[in-house]
Every structure is written in structure tokens, then in C-alpha cells.
């Protein structure tokens, strides 16, 4: 009874991603004993672990969009980093009214945010159109915005970094009033919740999986594959837009060249570390979220261990390979085989 319960837990889909996250975190306890210390400092929560959760927010938001896109189209959207920059640029440029640096809003923040999200939705729609309607392979279709996106963002900001030095603008990336919890965390949680609820309360999740597994069959049972794929790209675009706004709020500026730089790769990695198959089909949203936190935990850990930024990728690569190897079916089978052999040996011994 107890054993079967244990087995049930270990065979659950999210088991390994969670174990990996915990393993990465435990690594810290040995190297940096105060890693889990959380204190209140300057009126806000303070500690490495808070940093991990805070810094991972954009990645979590992106990973959600990436999961949906991956599930429906069996490919990845590599333009999300650039779309973040576009959204940030649009938002800040409207707020600054074209100036390089402002101390108060030139236009309403609501208009700016809506425009930014519209711009990112448009980017998503462009990707979606290429992928769903023209049947262009996702990675290639999104390669177009991947290269153009930052160009567009620079065009919007005239190649400058636009600063919005207004306290309320810093809230999305900082703190709201006296709340000790960094705001990005709320953004991440709320986004996850909303998407989760949409999937739960509509049949979208099932549709996405069906389209991703067998597009032909999905069409014959009455699903509009084109529309569903398109939709996932739009969602992914909007989420990238939200992430872009959060990221730009952190630095209260639109840095077209650097916002979301290389984040697309981390987002894809998060999806994979969450136990999702990059070829599409069944997916686990929560898995990707765990994957995103794992990646950030790893980065923060390595910083805490004083690993140089330029050497960090080497360690990241090694840990990633270890994690995906542990999660691979072949490895699991191998372990199962070892166990079986052991039990056979025991039985044989008894005879």
C-alpha cells in the first residue's frame, strides 16, 4: 500500500522536474548556507530565494506562452525576447512622448500599456499567421521577428534608451506601496493563474493538445487547427508583451538591445526541463513553470558561488545535461533494469 503510493508519486509527471528543482536548491545549502534566509530589510523581503522567485518572473511568463506554442505547433517561438523589447519600447515611447528621459508621464499609462500589449499581440499574430496559415516551420517563421524585433524596437525609440523616471512606473518591476513582496512575483502568479483557469474552464487545452498531436485527425473531428495554432501564437505574443513591460519597469527604461536578450532560449529550456516534449502534443503548464524557476535558481546559485558570468554557461550546460539525462526514458528504463536485475538476483539467492 505504502509502496504503491510511493510509486504513484514517483511516476507522476511532475515528479522529476520538482526533484531537479529541489536538487538545485539543496546545492545551495551546502555552498551558501544563508541561501534560504529571508529577512525584512528596508521594509521588503530580502534574501537569495526571494531573488530567485523575483527574477524568474519574466521567464515564467514567457515559459507559459512557449508551452502553448510548443504544444500546438510542435515548434518554438524564438522571437519572444525581441517581442519583449518591442512592447517595452512602445510602452516607454508613449509614456515619454518622444523624449529621451522624462520625470512624469506624457501620456496615460493605460494607453501606453494597452498599446504595448497590442503591439506584442500583433507580433504574435504575425508569427501565428506565418505558422498556422502559411504552414511555415515555427522556428523559421519566428526567426523573422527574432531579427527584426529589436530593429523595430529601436525604430520606435529612435535608437535611444528611453527613461521613464516615474515612481508609479517602477512599481511593476519593484514594489507596490508598502507591500514587501516584489511585484513581478504577482505578475507571474496571476499570469499562471489566468492561463491555468482558461485551460481549465474552456476546452482550449484539449484542443491544443489534439492539434499538436495529430493535426489531420483534429481537423476531421471539427477543430480549426489553423485558428488554434494562431491563437497560441497570439497568446504567446501578449505574454511576451507583459514580460517586456515588467522587464522595462525594472530598469524604468526601454533598452531595445538588451530587454529579454537570450531569454527565448531559457524559455524553451524551461519548457523542456518541465518534462514537456518539444515536438508538441501533451503539455504540462506547471512543469514549465517549475522549469523556469529551476533555471533561475541555477543562475542565482552560480552567482552566489561567485562563478564568473562568462563561465556560467559551462556550468549551466552541465547541469542541464544532467537534468535531462535523469528525465530521459532511456535512463529511467536503465534504472528500472538495474532494479529488476537486483530483485532477480535476490530471488535467485533465496533459491
Amino acid at each position: 500500500m505504502n509502496k504503491s503510493k510511493l510509486k504513484k508519486i514517483t511516476s507522476a509527471r511532475l515528479f522529476l522536474p520538482i526533484v531537479c528543482l529541489i536538487a538545485v536548491l539543496l546545492l545551495n545549502v551546502i555552498k551558501t548556507p544563508d541561501f534560504f534566509n529571508v529577512s525584512i530589510r528596508n521594509g521588503v523581503l530580502y534574501g537569495y530565494i526571494i531573488d530567485v522567485i523575483n527574477r524568474a518572473s519574466e521567464l515564467v511568463i514567457l515559459a507559459i506562452g512557449m508551452t502553448l506554442v510548443t504544444a500546438a505547433s510542435g515548434g518554438q517561438d524564438i522571437s519572444v525576447g525581441a517581442v519583449m523589447a518591442v512592447a517595452a519600447a512602445v510602452c516607454c515611447q508613449i509614456l515619454s512622448g518622444g523624449q529621451v528621459s522624462v520625470n512624469e508621464y506624457q501620456n496615460s499609462i493605460i494607453i501606453a500599456v494597452i498599446a504595448a500589449l497590442l503591439a506584442s499581440a500583433l507580433c504574435g499574430a504575425f508569427n501565428g499567421f506565418l505558422v498556422a496559415k502559411l504552414n511555415i516551420q515555427p522556428m523559421v517563421a519566428t526567426l523573422i521577428l527574432y531579427t527584426a524585433g529589436r530593429g523595430i524596437a529601436q525604430l520606435v525609440t529612435n535608437g535611444q534608451i528611453t527613461y521613464i523616471r516615474v515612481d508609479s512606473f517602477k512599481m511593476a518591476g519593484g514594489y507596490i506601496g508598502k507591500c514587501p513582496i516584489p511585484t513581478p512575483i504577482f505578475f507571474a502568479i496571476i499570469t499562471v493563474l489566468i492561463v491555468y483557469l482558461i485551460l481549465k474552464k474552456t476546452a482550449l487545452g484539449l484542443y491544443i493538445e489534439s492539434v499538436g498531436i495529430n493535426g489531420k485527425a483534429a481537423r476531421l473531428v471539427g477543430l480549426n487547427s489553423t485558428m488554434i495554432k494562431f491563437l497560441t501564437y497570439v497568446i504567446c505574443g501578449v505574454l511576451a508583451g507583459i514580460a517586456g513591460i515588467v522587464a522595462s519597469s525594472r530598469i524604468y527604461s526601454a533598452d531595445a538591445n538588451n530587454i529579454g536578450l537570450n531569454l527565448e532560449m531559457d524559455a524553451i529550456l524551461a519548457v523542456a526541463l518541465g518534462g514537456n516534449f518539444l515536438g508538441g502534443g501533451k503539455f504540462s503548464l506547471i512543469g514549465s513553470v517549475i522549469g523556469a524557476y529551476t533555471i533561475q535558481a541555477l543562475t542565482t546559485t552560480l552567482y552566489a558561488m561567485n562563478v564568473k558570468a562568462d563561465q556560467l554557461p559551462v556550468y549551466k550546460a552541465i547541469v542541464v545535461v544532467i537534468i535531462v539525462t535523469l528525465q530521459s526514458d532511456v535512463f529511467k528504463k536503465y534504472i528500472a533494469g538495474l532494479k529488476a536485475k537486483k530483485s532477480v538476483a535476490v530471488e535467485g539467492g533465496q533459491k
Binding site: 528596508n42 530598469i251 538588451n258 552567482y303 561567485n306 564568473k308 558570468a309 562568462d310
Partner: protein
């Protein structure tokens, strides 16, 4: 009219920062049609291989001059040889190139990053001395630029040499902030958690990193500034935003890195057109701006450099 216009091919690194944009703008406005030039501009998107291609393209277009702002210092022998064979003078701007034969380029215009670092550290020495902290134990943090970039190499060198030369100075941490505000902030946060209470000086290798570092420092409940008990922040580039922070005292010293290379290059081309000799190396003038007037001049390698106290008028009067 076509005969007396001078065609200039300009291969630019990219548009990776404000500084670069100002640099491009300076070139474009200098080599305009009104001034009698035809500028062929190429953006290499931070890739050296694109620059090699662009220069070969310029050679085929038979431009009169090639201006090159190299992505890297290395790897130019072959293509510069091709330009030389084709009889086209090459003027290097910004970063230096490392070639086996000096005659491959005609002149160089740019900044001396190592000197920038040396100047900044010399100022720090003088500043601490003036504050009566010359013999105190001073703990420094270096937030480096993108590893491998010329500016990072030069400025880190200046930093390292100075720390080496002072027995009472220690480097607590040296991490790359990749020249961005976000990374600068992230790295600073991590450093503060390890040794926040001990930090005296943060040496940021550009303004963007400084903004991030300042945010991180303030969020952790420390104060930035030049007084004892505060964390002193130094920076480079003197962008508009950077000088604004200098004025408010958050950045105590900002060392200039001048992007306005256009007029200098034009001077050289005019001399060449007139058949005159030109200097092989031309440094652009670079100033230093401090939040206060504790130190007004410093000395590096027997040369004197003035330190300007920042005012709003200075900021308003600058072109970038």
C-alpha cells in the same frame, strides 16, 4: 558635381548602445551630402564577419575612403591588405586594430580605454586622500562590461593595476554586468548579499550598469554617495542619464568616453585630400565629471587631467 564628392564607406559595429547611436549620428552628420560627401553606411550587427564582407563590398564599389569601427581588435590583416592593394586608405575609429603591419591603416581615431580606467582610479586615490581615508582599508567591487569588449578590457586593466598598486585596497568581487542595467542590478544584488556591509566603492564600467547597481544598493537599504558609510559609485560614458545621476550625487565620478568621432575623421580626410601627412593616432578629448569639487585635477603618467564639477548647464550644453 559627382567628381568632387568624396565617397566614404563606413562600417559600423551596430547599434548596441546609446553611445554607438551617437557615434553613428556623428559620422552621418559629418559626411553628409551638403559637406560634399557620399556616405555608404553599413551596420554589421555586432558581427565581425559582416564587417569583413562590408569592406570587401566597399572595395568593389571603389570608394575613396573606408572608415572602420571594428567589432574586435583582431582579425583584420587579410581584408585590410585587400584594401591597401586596391589603394583605398582606411581610417580606424573607436577600438584599435591589432595588425601585424601598421601601414595597413592610415590613421586611428578613438578613445584610450585603459587611460580612462587609470584616470578614474587616479581620481579615486586623490578623492580618498582628500577625504582623509587614504590609509583606510578600502573594499572595491568591479562590475565589468561584456567580457572581451575593448572597453571592458581597458577599464578592467586600469582598475586591476590600481588595486594592485595600493596595499590597502581589496577587490571584493569582480563580475560582468554585460554593460546593461538589468544585469548590473542582478549582479550587484548578489554581491550585496555576500558582503554588502563591507563595500566602499563600486566601479561600474558603464553608466547603464551603474544605474542597475545604484538601484540594487538602494533597495538593499544602503546609501550611495561619496561620504564615509556610503557606497561610492564610479562610472564611465557620461551619457545624459549618467550625468544626471552625477548631478544628483548618486554617481560620484563619471569619466567620459567621447563618441563624436566624425569631425576628427573629416579632418584627417581633408588632410589626405590635400596631400598632407596625418598623425597615425588621434585620441579624442575626454573629460571627467565629478559630483563635487573635492578633486579638481589628477595626474596619470605625468600628464595632467582636469576634473569638472557637473552642473545642469553642462548637461544641457552637451550633444549627447
Amino acid at each position: 558635381a559627382a567628381d568632387d564628392t568624396i565617397t566614404v564607406g563606413f562600417s559600423q559595429v551596430g547599434a548596441e548602445s546609446d553611445w554607438r547611436t551617437a557615434n553613428t549620428e556623428s559620422m552621418k552628420s559629418t559626411f553628409s551630402e551638403e559637406n560634399g560627401y557620399n556616405l555608404i553606411f553599413d551596420d554589421a550587427q555586432q558581427k565581425q564577419e559582416n564587417q569583413l564582407t562590408a569592406i570587401r563590398n566597399f572595395i568593389q564599389q571603389e570608394v575613396d575612403y573606408i572608415v572602420l569601427a571594428p567589432v574586435t581588435e583582431t582579425g583584420w590583416d587579410t581584408v585590410l591588405q585587400e584594401a591597401k592593394d586596391a589603394g583605398i586608405p582606411v581610417i580606424i575609429v573607436d577600438r584599435m586594430v591589432d595588425v601585424s603591419d601598421d601601414s595597413l591603416y592610415t590613421a586611428w581615431v578613438g578613445s584610450n580605454f585603459k587611460l580612462e580606467g587609470q584616470k578614474a582610479m587616479a581620481w579615486l586615490d586623490a578623492y580618498l586622500e582628500a577625504k582623509g581615508r587614504g590609509d583606510e582599508e578600502i573594499n572595491l567591487v568591479d562590475i565589468q562590461g561584456t567580457i572581451g569588449a575593448s572597453a571592458q578590457i581597458g577599464r578592467t586593466q586600469g582598475f586591476d593595476d590600481a588595486v594592485e598598486a595600493h596595499d590597502n585596497w581589496t577587490t571584493l568581487a569582480q563580475q560582468s554586468g554585460e554593460f546593461t542595467q538589468a544585469k548590473g542590478q542582478e549582479v550587484m544584488e548578489s554581491i550585496l548579499k555576500q558582503s554588502g556591509d563591507d563595500i566602499d566603492v563600486v566601479y561600474c564600467e558603464n553608466d547603464n550598469e551603474a544605474f542597475g547597481a545604484i538601484d540594487a544598493i538602494e533597495a538593499a537599504g544602503y546609501e550611495v554617495g561619496g561620504e564615509e558609510g556610503q557606497i561610492l559609485v564610479m562610472s564611465f560614458d557620461t551619457t545624459n542619464a549618467g550625468l544626471t545621476d552625477t548631478l544628483s550625487g548618486k554617481i560620484t565620478l563619471d569619466t567620459e568616453c567621447n563618441p563624436l568621432h566624425g569631425p576628427r575623421v573629416q579632418e584627417i580626410i581633408e588632410k589626405l585630400e590635400a596631400g598632407e601627412e596625418v598623425d597615425k593616432q588621434a585620441y579624442v578629448d575626454e573629460e571627467m565629471f565629478a559630483a563635487d569639487d573635492t578633486v579638481t585635477s589628477i595626474k596619470v603618467d605625468d600628464a595632467d587631467y582636469e576634473v569638472t564639477t557637473i552642473t545642469q548647464d553642462i548637461i544641457d550644453g552637451r550633444a549627447y
